[in-house]
Amino acid sequence: MDFLLDIKTAMLPEVIITFTILVCSVLCFMLKQEKQKFIYFISLLGVIISLISINLLAANKIFTGFYNSFSSDFFSILMRFLILSGTLFVIVMTKDYSFKFKHRQGEFYLLILIATLGGLLLSGANDLIMIFIALETLSLLSYALSGFLKKDKASNEAALKYLIFGGASSAVMLYGFSFLYGITGHTNLTEIIAYLTNNSSNMMFSFALLLTIAGFLFKVAGFPFHSWAPDVYEGAPVPVAAFLSTVSKVAGFAILIKFIGLAFNNTEAIGITLGLVALLTITVGNFMALNQVNIKRLMAYSSISQAGFVLIGFALLSYMGTSGAVYYLISYLVANLGAWLAITIFDTQTNKSLISDLNGIAYRNPYFATCFAVCLLSLAGIPVTVGFVAKFYLFHTIVQMGPAYLWLLIIALLNTILSLFYYLKVVKAMFVCKGADNGSKLNFNIGVLSTSFVFLTVLVVVLGVFVSPFINIARYSAVVIDNANTSAPVSVK
């Protein structure tokens, strides 16, 4: 009976998703091609129910189960919420796009849902084995999803590259795991933390930790494991690219924070190294994005640099930094989903993806262009959007860490100019450049796609105005992380 209680209080969303997966897989075989659209609704329903069920979870308590290999705390619940809402919008994106999948529509949703499940488990995982399995679930399914357009050369190539790169980096991560295990003798994170509080850390431990983090850096496309991202984003089906840059990333960050937390009461070495990684991630992403002409590639580089900003928060190795990172992650997710939704709509209807194809679209589809621009400007950090507040809060947290982190602040600040340039390039194409006279007019009538797009855009602005609750959420989750990592008694709010 205890087991069932656990499920209700800690794993309800996962269970619901699993159930949906089962239903979908059965339906995949049962339904005829033309009726496979039905699976779309089923999966949508499953995700929505799962999202609702998150509210039923006990948010103010830390719950651990499955022999302590899964723990549900406020932070993990928040991450799961983000992952599920990301999935929701990714599924929405496929509404019109799915005609490209031909007769395999059902499978696509199946894969997406399984990948999501991997992500959900990852955000609550508390044991190295659990982490590994959840991560690989997410990764393997992502490989498959990237190559989902079997006949498409680009899609194949993307999947291949993704797989090779992913295989290598997960091997590096596992190598790190093995050392963590070897040093501490434990695979359970709680116990590893307990070990750390009793033993002062050493260089070997930091080395192992860094190797481990490599695997997660791959997941979040952080430097130096970022190079797959642009190719995969370009080649993969657009909703998959969206999935990778949102859901997959959130999951990656969710687990990354736990590992970085291991270094919380450690030396600063890992913090500085991570800071370096974060800055390099931002800088490389920004520099590469400057000359892009393909909007998907541009978004890939943009998401690399955005990941770098989140990493900065992590690199601060503190409660404040984590809260900044979490808030930034929320803002990134909302704006990025919006931007990908726009690209999906555009790509689905015109089959084009160059920035110049967007020229003058603002005067054919003003709402579309405006919403897209708002999302992009939020990513760039222009008010009044959530991105602005998030950047401000992140920088605020850096400064709160004291003058030692000034270098981090300065380079991060300078990078925002670079990012502004390429986001503006897209905005400029839409609003300023003269489009071809017979430029395509998108169908942006009221529908689920346009509604969710507008919804996300409004959310971007609303979150930019109603800031306090989300900062409180971010802070609270950071407190939870902080407590868990310092293995101090949990203070329940």
Binding site: V384, F395, P403, L413, V432, C433, F466, V467, S468, R475
Partner: protein, 511 residues
């Protein structure tokens, strides 16, 4: 005065912009323009009411507003950020200047803007909100927010309705200003940091950080904070050598936007220097005053010399703007009442004059499609009204007594000359002021040269049919001329608003 709410003043333009943009609003040029113009007029009258009910002798903000969300004490309670507005001596006058120039820019938009009217007028109104928010915000975060927000409409206004290399110019403007603002952001955060570590309370309130500074900042960091703010405002003002965005932006922007850019946006740099670098960091301004003065003199002389050989009418006016903004620096560096009042006055004066000059440039360009001096000449014969207005503006600009520019220059020269802020520096205040005064010759030279080249002398045959000012343009220029003459004759009308503020300001660092 219950009906005077800064919230309404600031956010009404935003709402009206939304109304104009909404699909329900008729897409008819005339209706859109008249609606926007009418609204701007009302806004101007409303802002005048603020000025009338403003009590100059009270120190600190008036008409305070603090919007609260979610029953929090402040807007973003966790960080101590408040959505609070208020006006004091230096902002009330800029508020009125803003609404005034926006109204005129909209009047001047009739012929200058020929496409995408709804978008244009709503962007101007968004810009209005941003500027009003900037000058009235009582919170550093809010100030920064509006500072950045202003860039967006400005970017679109230049890049969509501009001419020439408009996209390049708009991008340059955007990135350059953004670049500057990052330094300010660092400064803002650092101020907050030192307040937190000293008091444990996170706040961005300008009042708290200014008036009740119960916290110490290590000298080096205070200098860095000063530097951060300074860079941001130096870009905006602009200060040589951070000025090169300005000629580009001005030349390529449409006329009404140039008016707003020169008329108000540059003033934000001066406003910031007074509000933050001077008021908030009085210890630092004392130390850095020599730099301010040196940069000011360089600005004045350098830009004047560069203006002397410009071949493009608008470039000349743009460089004259840079030169004139140097006076703001010079006045500020004097650190006495006369100097700072003069800087403030110069901002108002230049706001009106440069807006007018850009309007005239636009008027000429609209008719001749050229701004090159070699193509112009003798236009005074066919457009006498434009000629007289330009003459008035040029004379005001070169500091002719009894026009608005003179009082500003006198105060600045007097302030700078009698100041001792350069004590211990190689060159004395007197020498620097003397150098700056050379500009009264050069300024006269390039402005009169401009008048001569454009309006006087022989006329090209092709301009024979050029028409004089339309009623719209004439009205806009007349509106501009009224304060130029009025406050030139009666400078107390403006100075009385901010003198108590400046007195109080100066008393803080003469102690």
């Amino acid at each position: 005065m219950e009906f005077l709410s800064l919230n309404i003043l600031i956010f009404a333009p935003l709402i009206v912009a939304g109304i104009i943009l909404s699909p329900l609003f008729p897409n008819d040029e005339i209706i859109v323009r008249r609606f926007a113009k009418g609204f701007a007029g009302l806004l101007f009258i409303y802002s005048i009411l603020f000025m009338i009910f403003f009590k100059p002798h009270e120190v600190g903000y008036q008409f305070k507003e603090n919007i609260k969300l979610f029953s929090d004490a402040n807007w973003i309670e966790p960080l101590g950020i408040s959505l609070s507005f208020g006006v004091d001596g230096i902002s009330i006058i800029l508020v009125v200047l803003t609404t005034f120039l926006v109204m005129l820019a909209l009047i001047a938009s009739k012929k200058a803007i020929t496409t995408k009217h709804k978008l244009y007028y709503s962007l101007i109104l968004v810009l209005t909100t941003a500027i009003l928010g900037m000058v009235t915000s009582r919170d550093l975060f809010l100030f920064f927010l509006f500072w950045e927000l202003e860039l967006i409409p400005m970017y679109f206004l230049i890049s969509i309705w501009g001419t020439g290399k408009k996209e390049y110019s708009a991008m340059k403007f955007f990135l350059y200003t953004f670049f500057g603002s990052l330094f300010m952001l660092a400064g803002i955060l650092a101020l907050n940091y030192f307040h937190v570590i000293n008091t444990g309370v996170s706040t961005f309130s300008i009042e708290t950080l200014t008036y009740s500074r119960h916290y110490d900042i290590p000298f080096m960091f205070e200098a860095l904070i000063f530097f951060g703010f300074f860079i941001a405002f130096a870009v905006k003002l602009p200060i040589v050598p951070l000025h090169t965005w300005l000629p580009n932006a001005h030349v390529d922007a449409p006329t009404p936007v140039s008016m707003l850019l020169a008329g108000i946006l540059l003033k934000m740099g001066g406003y910031g220097l007074i509000r933050f670098n001077t008021q908030m960091l009085p210890e630092m301004i004392k130390i850095f005053a020599p730099i301010l003065i040196v940069l000011g003199v360089i600005n004045i002389i350098y830009a004047a010399f560069v203006a002397l050989v410009q071949k493009d009418l608008k470039l000349l006016v743009a460089y004259s703007s840079i030169s004139h903004m140097g006076f703001v620096l010079l006045g500020l560096g004097a650190l006495n009442v006369a100097g700072i009042s003069g800087a403030m006055f110069q901002m108002i004066a230049h706001g009106l004059i440069s807006a007018g000059l850009f309007l005239v440039v636009g008027v000429i360009y609209l008719r001749t499609k050229t701004r090159t001096f070699s193509q112009l000449g003798g236009l005074g014969q066919v457009m006498p009204k434009a000629f007289y207005f330009t003459m008035l503006l040029a004379l005001a600009s070169l500091g002719l007594p009894l026009l608005i520019g003179f009082a500003a220059e006198v105060m600045i020269f007097y302030g700078a000359f009698t100041s001792d802020s350069l004590e211990g520096f190689v060159l004395s205040n007197q020498v620097m002021t003397g150098l700056a005064a050379i500009s009264i010759i050069i300024t006269a030279a390039y402005l009169l040269w401009m008048l001569q080249k454009v309006f006087m002398g022989n006329m090209f045959e092709k301009w024979q049919k050029t028409s004089d000012l339309t009623p719209h343009e004439a009205i806009a220029l007349t509106f501009l001329s009224i304060p130029i003459v009025l406050f030139g004759l009666y400078p107390e009308g403006i100075t009385s608003l901010f003198l108590p503020f400046v007195d109080n300001l100066v008393s803080h660092f003469t102690l």
